[in-house]
């Protein structure tokens, strides 16, 4: 009986803690949007973040997109070849990269590279009193730290996803035509027939939602980090895990919603 009570208390405590965290995260998001509407953005900070989040993520995103497109083309060819549908590889790679693999894999790579860095940087600033110093200098931490990262992420994510999709399709074309002997014109023709602009829109819209989740979760985790080196480490790990899982779970619901709004 005592064990059951402890177990229930543990579940209750964690549920309440999680809900409180979700509430604080929502308030942080609303405050960020409020500041965006009412104040002039700090362009210097935003450009610096855009460079870090966007430009410096390009190599990672290109490699991810390229090798995903290559392996997808190879696997699709090997299965489709059995039923003599070799030239459909282009359509499968195009649609899969645009609708799913491009946005999701880009988001996971950004969560790992950028999300971890955001949480660790803000967490370190918190434990070394730099955030208190900002406040003491009459600067609101959300204005200075969260808003520029939010704006930069909202600009960078669709662009990075676009790169990833493009690289996936190009590298898939290379694998299908150069390694498996698929005729290039048929590859392009089939891709053109079965892939629509809606596929691309859906991927890019999803990437903006993923960017929003990543930047808000990671900023929140950094700003609410516990004291000490262990606190920063914990916040960083949680930021990456929570934002990655949020991307994966939300992907299903956003996809279902977008399929209603933008039918395939």
């Amino acid at each position: 009986m005592r064990f059951v009570k402890q177990w229930l208390a543990w579940i209750g405590g964690n549920t309440l803690g999680g809900l409180a965290g979700l509430g604080r995260l929502t308030f942080l998001f609303l405050e960020t949007v409020g500041i965006l509407i009412s104040r002039r953005p700090r362009w210097n900070q935003t450009m610096r973040q855009l460079h870090f989040i966007g430009v410096r993520s390009i190599p990672v995103v290109i490699i991810t997109g390229a090798f995903t497109g290559m392996v997808l083309a190879a696997q699709t060819y090997l299965q489709f070849h059995k039923v003599k549908m070799d030239t459909a590889v282009g359509a499968v790679v195009g649609v899969a990269m645009a609708r799913e693999l491009g946005p999701v894999l880009t988001a996971l790579m950004v969560a790992g590279r950028v999300g971890a860095s955001i949480a660790a940087e803000l967490g370190t600033m918190r434990v070394t009193e730099q955030i208190d110093a900002l406040r003491a200098l009459a600067t609101h931490p959300v204005d200075f730290l969260v808003v520029p990262r939010f704006v930069a992420m909202m600009i960078a994510m669709p662009l990075l996803t676009g790169f990833s999709i493009l690289m996936g399709i190009a590298s898939g074309y290379f694998v299908a035509t150069q390694l498996f002997g698929v005729e290039g014109a048929f590859y392009i023709e089939n891709m053109d027939t079965f892939m629509r602009a809606q596929d691309l829109y859906q991927g890019l819209i999803k990437s903006m939602f993923f960017g929003l989740f990543i930047v808000m979760v990671c900023c929140y985790k950094g700003l609410h980090c516990r004291q000490g080196a262990e606190g920063v480490g914990h916040a960083t790990t949680e930021a990456v895990v929570v934002s990655s899982i949020t991307v994966l779970i939300s992907n299903f619901f956003i996809t279902m919603l977008l399929n209603e709004v933008i039918p395939p």
């Binding site: 070394t128 009193e129 208190d132 406040r135 009459a138």
Partner: protein
């Protein structure tokens, strides 16, 4: 003038400030002394609104700052400069960017004027020519000086020092004490310092207040504190621990 009235603050079940009352007069150098963990830094952070009390008032120039939100506290914070115990320099910025930060945030000076003011502030703290250095390249004493330059660049009415000499060797610590005195004279500002370094306290204070068990145990001039008959005050200022009792 700053008035702290009946201030209470607890962390969980642990009370830190219990009915603390203190008045800081304009132009004076007030030093708050007390044992480690007695709530000195907590008291200081309440004065600039970095912490919210559970109860009580903090009245700065006639206005209670306790009910104010983060944005409403902005104008109050522009009247104050805060030197953190660890200096709390922004480690991704150069010395120049750190010192000029408050001016750049106000966005009413040209880059040339800002650079002039940075050079002047660094000269005051004896760190001319260090504009392009990063905080990681500086010693502890230099970091405190840069923190001080950042705190005074907007000519605040009140300067708050959190353990200004902690972690510094005696000579560097004394130079920080001299700097605190010079800044007070030069800018005619009010200084509030918290420390457990009695040498520093006696050097810079016009008045000393001792925080003990969440309240102000005693307050007076350095001479009055030195002559105090209160055994707790005497034990603290002479740094004499009871050999039969281990205090932490």
């Amino acid at each position: 003038m700053i008035e702290i009235q009946d201030l209470h603050k607890s962390f969980g079940e642990q009370p830190v400030l219990r009915s603390t009352n203190l008045t800081i007069r304009d132009g004076e150098n007030l030093v708050v002394i007390g044992r480690s963990g007695c709530g000195k830094s907590v008291l200081l952070k309440h004065i600039v609104g970095l912490m919210k009390p559970d109860a009580g008032k903090i009245v700065i120039d006639g206005a209670d700052i306790v009910p104010l939100n983060e944005r409403e506290l902005g104008p109050i914070r522009l009247k104050t400069g805060f030197l953190f115990q660890s200096a709390a320099l922004f480690d991704s910025m150069t010395v120049s960017e750190n010192v000029s930060f408050p001016l750049r945030e106000q966005r009413n000076l040209s880059p040339g004027e800002i650079q002039e003011k940075v050079a002047e502030a660094l000269e005051i703290v004896g760190l001319e020519g260090t504009q392009e250095k990063m905080p990681a390249e500086l010693s502890g004493g230099m970091r405190k000086r840069v923190g001080l330059a950042r705190a005074v660049i907007c000519r605040p009415k009140y300067i708050l020092y959190d353990e200004p000499t902690t972690g510094l060797d005696p000579l560097v610590g004394d130079s920080i004490n001299n700097l605190i005195l010079q800044l007070g004279e030069r800018f005619d500002c009010t200084a509030i310092a918290v420390t457990h370094d009695m040498k520093s306290a006696f050097k810079i204070a016009d008045r000393i207040a001792m925080l003990h068990e969440g309240g102000i145990r005693t307050a007076g001039t350095p001479e009055e504190i030195q002559g105090s008959k209160d055994p707790i005050v005497q034990k603290f200022i002479t740094g004499t621990a009871d050999p039969k009792q281990i205090d932490f």
